[in-house]
Symmetry: C2
Subunit: 444 residues, 2 copies
């Protein structure tokens, strides 16, 4: 039997690209046997043709013209592993226009141009596969689209950024400050060149926007999502949270009352009960908890980044692409799904602060003098925020007139909390901007 | 556009069957839109035609001849939800011989007749799909076969039986005895009619055998697997484990040094560190941890049983079946995979006790008199078992001459431990059969 050949081109051959190339080469015979085709690592487009790379590739296979590679009619699959949203978008559109399958790990691109790219895939008759773009090795895309196809998603939340989780874990375990652990994370290469992506929550927000689309069928603008990073979290917060039975985790949350057309999408550090499985996911690991209306809650935990975990996800998409190509089918095709998502997402809007309810953790730096707690409590009462616990600690420096006042609240609306923050900020006894963290209370 | 109709027949319409029927009916329009076909709940074969059921079905759609239903040429998909291994096997073989897709939750049948049934699917040109058979709503089959296709599996382990997990969790949380929690589990309907399936570990063992096939390509005999249930675990074990930093969980474990042709498959209660995510999966939840050589460790947690969670998994298989049928493809076809698994599993054998190494927890009931600890320590030393910790507690009844002696050991071979047990049993001061539990030490 003559086996069909599947030719793969790589747009970008950096860390992830080399990982995919290496593992495809190493596993070639098993994969080929399993998939019933011959896999050819045909070409790669790179920026610098002279740079040496950790894979076996001849100079003839290299080009610096990624667009030409995307248009190459001999290729069946293009792995877009360039990153960014400019050249990567053009490469993807060109390849999809030619009916190819594009496999990607590019969350920023999907988050910004997802609607356009999936439309292009449907029109070109190809596919746009992106398992590696959300939480690397965790198969959350396939799980939501295929395994949980019978479900509607009331709640999704999770630890979507491994770098922040690493930092928060080490702070808690070793009583280190944010800046101490950040140094280590940088040294280990865990922090993106653009540090805001990790530390300010944007990487997690990209993933949250993609998950929100998969759950609810609408592409939300990144700018409309409430995103807060971990730069304001310091050791005392982690320790106080711990003493109250919580861990501090940067969470991405997508929640929706299934009977309403309002959805909450947010990324912020939050206090989460230690009894929750997700709270015990530490170090660089990611976790996603999905609550479906049929299956209940399913939690997936794994490596969200790194060459090998991401390569594993890219290869799973390549295998799906091969199945679709080999059967000459549109079995994966997005055109049916697109229409499904379009109807699903019609009339959906982000919830307003008045509609969002949560309990909160509030850290204030206040002057250590009589009447301060009364002032703070009065402000909260004015906005109908009910206090659950109060901790006040004196400074260890005896002549420091500023102390930390930690409050937790019962559930209240975010609008009330924002008004309270505004008024607290105006009190003379409050010396720096209060830190506000939601306390999330999920069953699992 | 005339949509293709996909006709589904149900062999068995019990708890799970009714769940599938109900959710398919409720979600019909969304699913049909997504899959591009019209789904027809055509017929059901039941034992008792007169019994009332919680779904909308006319008398004309019912038959008591499951074999005739399996042969009905108008059906595309048969859901085999009869259970057991006799009629269910015949129904499955008949439907597969006709080129149909059979979807099942029947772990016992796959465990016993998997080789025959997958062969029949390949020969008939249909498919045999079984996501619901292992851990209900947890998509472990799809994850292993598709998402982790680039990986070889060094280690799989997990909490594969929700009933045992429920019992062990309540014992630990509420300081209840095994028998007290068992009464509650029975009352809540959590225990199978054949209690040995749950309590003696056989349900978990069925799943372990299926996972071992998926990981390593060989069907092992259930009789060859080392299976131990939880009937011998009592409150003191759970409490002692807790004081040592562990939880007691019934674990299914499939481990393999990827360079050898030996695999370990076992089901037993074990001590697992509280720092491990799996140790924190409580109540009726299941968890499976998969370590792939590319992706690293991925953990999936969810509901392993129950009408809705199982129905969710069955429907995901139906959706996959529809994709394959709709595209007229063999995209899911097992014939390529079968050959892959055949080569993968060639020459594989179970490891012998001499090859298996573990640390152990050992509880002995001994006479409270001088020299007993010396006797026990001498036996262990003779077999080169090194003691890590010792706890001896006097009985609370002052005139009870028997006390519990708890030992943990460093890693040793199972063969050494078995010889030690044999010799300990022969000591006059040891008053009942010792309880031996492995202490598993997995990174995650």
């Amino acid at each position: 039997m003559t086996e069909r050949e599947i030719k793969i081109g790589f747009a970008g051959l950096g860390v992830v690209g080399q990982g995919v190339w290496k593992h495809l080469e190493r596993n070639a015979s098993a994969l080929e046997q399993r998939l019933g085709v011959r896999i050819v690592l045909a070409r790669a487009a790179v920026r610098d043709l002279t740079k040496s790379r950790g894979v076996t590739i001849t100079p003839e296979q290299l080009t610096d013209d990624a667009i030409a590679l995307a248009r190459d009619p001999s290729l069946d699959i293009v792995c877009e592993l360039i990153g960014g949203t400019a050249l990567a978008r053009e490469v993807t559109l060109q390849a999809l226009a030619g009916g190819k399958v594009v496999v990607t790990a590019n969350k920023a691109l999907i988050c910004t141009h997802g609607a356009e790219l999936f439309q292009a895939a449907a029109e070109g008759g190809g596919h746009y596969l992106f398992e590696a773009s959300v939480c690397g090795g965790i198969p959350i895309i396939k799980t939501m689209r295929e395994s949980l196809v019978a479900n509607r998603f009331r709640l999704l939340y999770g630890i979507l950024n491994g770098t922040c989780n690493y930092i928060l874990t080490r702070m808690e375990r070793e009583s280190l400050t944010f800046h101490e652990t950040l140094q280590d994370a940088r040294r280990l290469g865990y922090v993106e060149a653009d540090e805001a992506l990790d530390l300010d929550g944007w990487d997690a927000a990209h993933k949250a926007v993609i998950l929100a689309y998969l759950a609810h069928g609408k592409w939300f603008n990144l700018e409309d999502v409430d995103v807060q990073g971990i730069r304001n979290i310091d050791l005392p917060d982690v320790q106080w949270a711990n003493s109250l039975g919580y861990k501090v985790k940067l969470l991405g949350i997508i929640s929706r009352d299934l009977d309403s057309n309002r959805v909450v999408i947010r990324v912020h550090p939050a206090l989460i009960s230690k009894r929750n499985v997700v709270a015990n996911v530490d170090d660089v690991f990611n976790a996603v908890s999905v609550t479906g209306d049929v299956v209940g809650t399913t939690v997936l935990i794994g490596r969200g980044a790194g060459q090998d975990a991401t390569a594993s996800a890219v290869i799973s998409d390549i295998a799906d692409a091969v199945s679709a190509i080999r059967s000459g089918s549109r079995a994966l095709s997005s055109e049916v799904d697109l229409e499904f998502y379009r109807r699903l997402g019609a009339d959906l809007a982000l919830a307003s602060p008045a509609e969002i309810r949560s309990a909160y953790y509030l850290r204030l730096s206040v002057l250590d003098r009589p009447g301060v707690l009364a002032d703070v409590a009065t402000v909260l009462a004015r906005h109908e925020v009910s206090i659950a616990t109060v901790i006040q600690r004196s400074s260890e420096e005896t002549d420091n007139p500023v102390v930390s006042l930690i409050l937790t609240t019962h559930e209240c609306s975010e609008a009330s909390m924002r008004c309270s923050l505004h008024d607290l900020d105006a009190l003379a006894s409050v010396r720096s901007r209060p830190l506000l963290l939601p306390i999330v209370d999920f069953d699992n």
